[in-house]
């Protein structure tokens, strides 16, 4: 699957980014669980792109441009998402932000788990032949943190998970990963799978081969300018059926959901002495 012709080419990488929409993560404490525990009810919460996937897209855009002229896309960024027609909103928004093409895989959530998604993505990779697949390190609804690593295994590709910084070299990426106890640096040659962590969108976290190393990005992800939102309607968005990519069924089955134990607000204390008194005599932790 190696695209040997590209190995020595410093720019113009092709990147596949997987995107998921999630119930508004900043209001995740408003999810409801019916007494019988049959589901997690997110009614009333707006759909938002999974934040880590937004970071994955931003990483892909930074890797396919010269930071100084961000309107010119070198290489190609293809975005893919799984779900009903409505997830096209997420894909259109990614197209407006700078992605070139989009693929929606028609399915329902019940048909998916991490392994099924990874298997379907592996099929898309086979067809698209990207140099790099970039994913958010985890979706903040299921909080599993798995698809990138599983996909890398299915493809027999190297993985750089939880990337905090990414520097493009000739045919490879130098990636700093935030791990327990420090920062681990690995180099992965194309093709490879990358999953990104929070700090990948800091101003000096990602450099393509053509971006000057003194260039500083704005903090965070970019937003689509209005004309781009109009133009994005003309960018290609293909639909595929999950069944055409994989016949696999989920291995994970949820039997029940529960609300977390409630935690009540305690009391305010007047000053440090009052705090120490409470810690010593009431909580008995001093």
């Amino acid at each position: 699957m190696t695209r040997s012709g590209l190995l020595n080419k410093p720019t113009g990488v092709k990147i596949l980014v997987a995107l998921k929409r999630v119930a508004d993560p900043d209001n995740a404490n408003k999810v409801k669980i019916p007494a019988e525990g049959s589901k997690i009810d997110t009614t009333g919460l707006e759909w938002k792109p999974n934040p880590f996937d937004d970071y994955a897209l931003e990483t892909a855009l930074r890797l396919t441009e010269d930071g100084k002229s961000q309107k010119v896309r070198k290489g190609e960024v293809v975005v893919a998402s799984f779900g009903p027609k409505e997830v096209e909103t997420t894909l259109r928004s990614a197209l407006a932000t700078g992605a070139d093409r989009a693929i929606r895989v028609e399915c329902t959530d019940e048909q998916l788990d991490g392994l099924v998604v990874a298997k379907a993505l592996a099929k898309l990779v086979e067809a698209e032949k990207p140099d790099v697949v970039i994913l958010g390190k985890q979706a903040v609804d299921g909080d599993s943190n798995q698809v990138g690593q599983i996909l890398a295994e299915l493809l027999d590709w190297p993985q750089a998970a939880f990337a905090a910084t990414v520097k493009e070299e000739a045919g490879s990426l130098l990636v700093a990963r935030e791990v327990d106890g420090g920062v681990l640096e690995v180099r992965v040659k194309f093709p490879a799978v990358l999953t990104v962590d929070l700090r990948v969108v800091a101003p000096t976290s990602v450099y393509s081969a053509s971006t000057d190393k003194t260039f500083r990005y704005n903090e965070g992800v970019r937003f689509a300018p209005l004309p781009a939102i109009m133009q994005a309607r003309k960018k290609p968005l293909d639909t595929k059926n999950l069944a055409d990519l994989t016949g696999e069924k989920p291995r994970i089955r949820y039997v029940k959901y529960e609300a977390p134990p409630a935690r009540k607000a305690g009391s305010k204390v007047a000053d440090v002495d009052a705090l120490l008194d409470k810690l010593k005599n009431e909580a008995k932790v001093l």
């Binding site: 909080d143 295994e153 493809l155 027999d156 993985q159 180099r187 609300a259 305690g266 120490l276 932790v285």
Partner: protein, 324 residues
């Protein structure tokens, strides 16, 4: 063959305490399945961990030793873990950076279901159900895994570290399985270790956590208080993003999850993502100048005020109490 395999975390010549939490899970799971548990350790000098692991009550300690395993890389570890795992019903590691990187890859190789970051194992007839947090800890899902091998990671703060037992398990070498083609395209470059002489964040009984409000005085203010308690230091995302402290101090949904006896949230407003990482703490103290900050909704004792005055005063008085 309903046995459980624990994948030990062994790095820089040491068995990480995360391993002991995975062993605690394994004891419950193996008992429920009527089987035993074994511990697999990998590395270029993995046999040096054998004796220590042998005291943890396992049926066997399996050692995979090879020069290629010197520095941990999922691409090199996963094939051996998967090969060994074929004889087990459940494979477990702690949901540390190591476990979260490696075990999904192992699950992919085994074509197995993977349940991440579980907080409880619930025996149900002859099977196991796994409880795991979702939506930043605002919901829990209870799931079963429907594949011949089940792969899980466990939340360290939810499984107390296993103590050594009197017995000593037999230690066996296992064959190291050659990595796939993809492994030739990954290179371990270097590890910048953050010096930390404090207790591990995930194991400390007291955690002093600071937020954006501390600015450049993050360590100047928190170090003395942490010293007074013998505590670990944690941080909010904002403090890490701004470079006021090391990134691996981040407590939250996607950082470290802690559940100490006493947690201080200092200058932390309490975003949902932060609460996900600390709201199982037994006693929560917050110091914040904004009395309406969301952190106070889950705080046992809240002090509204200037942390730059309160923290030094608190430090001095805690010191006096501890000395006295």
């Amino acid at each position: 063959m309903a046995n459980v395999l624990v994948v030990a975390e062994f790095a820089e010549g040491k068995v990480k305490r995360t391993t002991h939490s995975a062993v605690t899970f394994a004891r419950t799971a193996a008992a429920a399945l009527g089987g035993t548990y074994s511990i697999l350790v990998l590395g270029s000098n993995a046999s040096s961990a054998g004796d220590e692991l042998a005291k943890l009550g396992a049926a066997k300690v399996l050692v995979a030793e090879d020069a290629k395993l010197e520095n941990y890389l999922a691409e090199h570890y996963a094939p051996t873990v998967a090969a060994v795992a074929k004889d087990f019903a459940v494979v477990v590691a702690a949901a540390s950076a190591f476990g979260k990187d490696l075990l999904p890859r192992v699950a992919g190789k085994l074509d197995a279901g993977y349940a991440a970051d579980i907080t409880e194992v619930i025996p149900s007839g002859s099977t196991l159900q796994y409880k795991r947090p979702m939506y930043a800890g605002n919901a829990f899902g209870i799931c079963v895994i429907e594949s011949p091998t089940q792969v899980v990671t466990v939340r360290q703060s939810a499984f107390a570290a296993a103590e050594a037992t009197g017995a000593s398990a037999p230690i066996e070498k296992v064959a190291v399985v050659a990595a796939g083609q993809g492994a030739s395209r990954v290179e371990w470059v270097k590890f910048d270790q953050v010096k930390n002489e404090r207790p591990e964040l995930t194991e400390a009984s007291v955690v002093i956590a600071g937020g954006r409000a501390l600015k450049e005085q993050f360590y100047d203010l928190l170090n003395p208080l942490a010293d007074a308690f013998g505590a670990a230091i944690g941080a909010s995302r904002a403090a890490c993003d701004n470079g006021y402290c090391a990134p691996d101090l981040q407590v939250g949904q996607t950082g470290k999850v802690v559940a100490p006896g006493l947690y201080f949230a200092i200058g932390i407003s309490g975003a949902i993502q932060h609460l996900a990482g600390m709201k199982s703490s037994k006693v929560i103290v917050s110091i914040n100048k904004d009395g309406d900050a969301p952190i106070f909704q889950i705080t046992d004792y809240g002090l509204v005020g200037d942390l730059f005055k309160a923290v030094p005063e608190l430090t001095e008085k805690v010191r006096a109490i501890k000395a006295g």
